[in-house]
């Protein structure tokens, strides 16, 4: 049990997919304009990660080594399709906001990376918690980035105006703002890490 908790918590800080592994930056850069988008993307990716890690770890002994990547892609695409249709049915606004980036979870490096690096070598309970931890870590990173960008870029968080008279810094709503925020946060976390060691 202790091991499982460790598999879960490592994805949040020690091996955070966005800030430590630097994986899945494309959706991070693209959808982190607002917190709502960030949470939606995070939940969708977490669902896909959970499902794919679980199934890959269950069928890892049957998959021939040479064609393992196509097999993973098929498994991942299944879960992405489920997530996409659910989103279309229950939250069409979010679906429109995220657009092409939901289907693109299929090629998200975090999902494929965990399947290739972890799920194909570990049993299903460990893979499940690993996927959950990575998904939560990814979601938290997205929320952090998108909160900074939404606040600076439009003066709002989740659509609520925080400070009256705040002049929005438009650049943070643009792609260049995403790169700036991610770069500065990466630097900040590296400083924290260096101070610690």
């Amino acid at each position: 049990m202790k091991n499982l908790i460790k598999e879960f918590t490592k994805g949040i800080i020690k091996e955070n997919p966005t800030f430590v592994l630097i994986l899945g930056l494309c959706p991070t850069l693209a959808v982190s304009v607002s917190v709502a988008n960030g949470i939606g993307m995070g939940i969708a990716a977490t669902f896909v990660l959970l499902g794919s890690s679980l199934i890959v770890s269950l069928v890892r002994d049957f998959i021939p080594d040479k064609i393992r990547i196509p097999c993973y892609i098929v498994i991942i695409a299944t879960f992405v399709t489920i997530a996409e249709f659910c989103m279309k049915a229950y939250s069409p606004v979010l679906d429109r906001a995220l657009g092409i980036y939901v289907p693109l979870i299929v090629v998200n490096c975090i999902v494929l990376g965990r399947a290739e690096a972890f799920a194909c070598k570990n049993n299903f309970s460990r893979s499940f918690f690993d996927g959950l931890g990575m998904g939560v870590g990814f979601t938290l990173a997205l929320i952090l980035i998108s909160a900074i960008r939404e606040f600076l870029g439009s003066g709002q968080i989740l659509g609520h105006t925080l400070i009256k008279g705040f002049e929005p810094v438009f650049v943070f709503g643009m792609p260049s703002g995403a790169l700036l925020v991610i770069g500065l946060l990466l630097g900040f976390f590296n400083i924290l890490k260096n101070r610690k060691s």
Partner: protein
């Protein structure tokens, strides 16, 4: 006598130059343009400049103290960054704008890369482009000289296809037009550049090739008919002279060799002309210089000087 007999490796001839020496000389050289800006636009221009300089120096001081690095505030490089940033702003902006711009210039444009000598882009232009992208409504309103009315700059008027109302070349040369604080008075800028040129802190390669290329391209493509463009107007308006003399000649982010500097200048001129004639913005000097700053490592790589005696 004994003191003069120093045995050491080369170089044996020393010049009493230092970073702070050069930087303060540049500060002195931009003072005429600043005075001209204050005369033309009133005291607002002075407050904007002072706010930018103070913010730049304080940011540098705080960040270097926080990172535990050597404090280099007194070498004048932060001062010149603040001044050049303010020179690229309209005179009637709210005072928090130059402050935020200067903080961004120093923090993101310079200290993130490791401080003086490490930045890959001109810090003042990084700050200006950040402000331009963030608060375009403040960055594109210009007051007309000697009165409080706002109006378009000559280049913006040209872009919108309006006929230019009685602006003579002499007015442009002396700065009687709407524009940014430091860019309007060409005469003052030339005086400052002459001072630097005489002191040997400025080489002619980048400014000459930059201005010449812009002139040639705006002459060829600047009008509906080929070879009918108003090249003199393009040279005298906008930030071309300020950019070519003081921004594109930044020591850190430009090529090292004369050949490389000529390539750099031609590239800047080409990009400026392209943005002005076909681009979405009326002015392209800052983007042109920043793009060529990005290309500098490649230029340096392909214009390396042959070491004597090698092939």
């Amino acid at each position: 006598m004994k003191d003069n007999l120093i045995v050491s490796g080369s170089p044996h001839i020393h010049k009493k130059g230092s970073i702070s020496n050069i930087m303060w000389a540049v500060v002195i050289s931009v003072i005429p343009a600043g005075i001209a800006g204050v005369i033309i636009f009133g005291l607002d221009a002075l407050w904007v400049t002072i706010a930018a300089v103070i913010a730049a120096v304080l940011t540098e001081l705080v960040l270097e103290a926080w990172a535990g690095k050597k404090i280099t505030v007194f070498d004048g490089s932060a001062v010149i960054t603040g001044i050049l940033l303010a020179f690229n702003l309209p005179p009637n902006v709210p005072l928090w704008l130059p402050v935020i711009g200067a903080v961004f210039s120093i923090a993101i444009g310079k200290q993130v890369f490791g401080g003086i000598g490490q930045n890959i882009f001109n810090p003042a232009l990084v700050g200006r482009v950040f402000l331009m992208a963030s608060w375009p409504k403040y960055m594109t309103i210009f007051v007309k000289p000697f009165d409080a009315l706002t109006g378009a700059t000559p280049l913006a008027a040209l872009k919108e296809g309006k006929i230019l109302e009685h602006i003579s070349y002499l007015d442009l040369f002396l700065g009687k037009r709407g524009g940014c604080i430091g860019e309007v008075c060409i005469l003052a800028l030339l005086i400052g550049a002459a001072f630097l040129l005489i002191r040997g802190h400025l080489s002619w390669h980048i400014p000459a090739s930059y201005i010449f290329t812009t002139a040639v391209f705006t002459y060829i493509f600047g009008a509906a008919q080929l070879f009918h463009g108003d090249w003199l107007f393009h040279i005298l308006s906008g930030g071309l002279i300020l950019g070519a003399l003081f921004m594109a000649t930044d020591y850190v982010a430009t090529p090292l060799t004369a050949k490389g500097q000529l390539i750099f200048g031609v590239g800047c001129g080409l990009l400026t002309a392209v943005i002005r004639i076909w681009g979405g913005y009326p002015e392209g000097v800052s983007y042109a210089i920043l793009m060529m700053n990005g290309a500098t490592p490649f230029i340096d790589r392909y214009t390396r000087i042959r070491i004597y005696g090698t092939k």
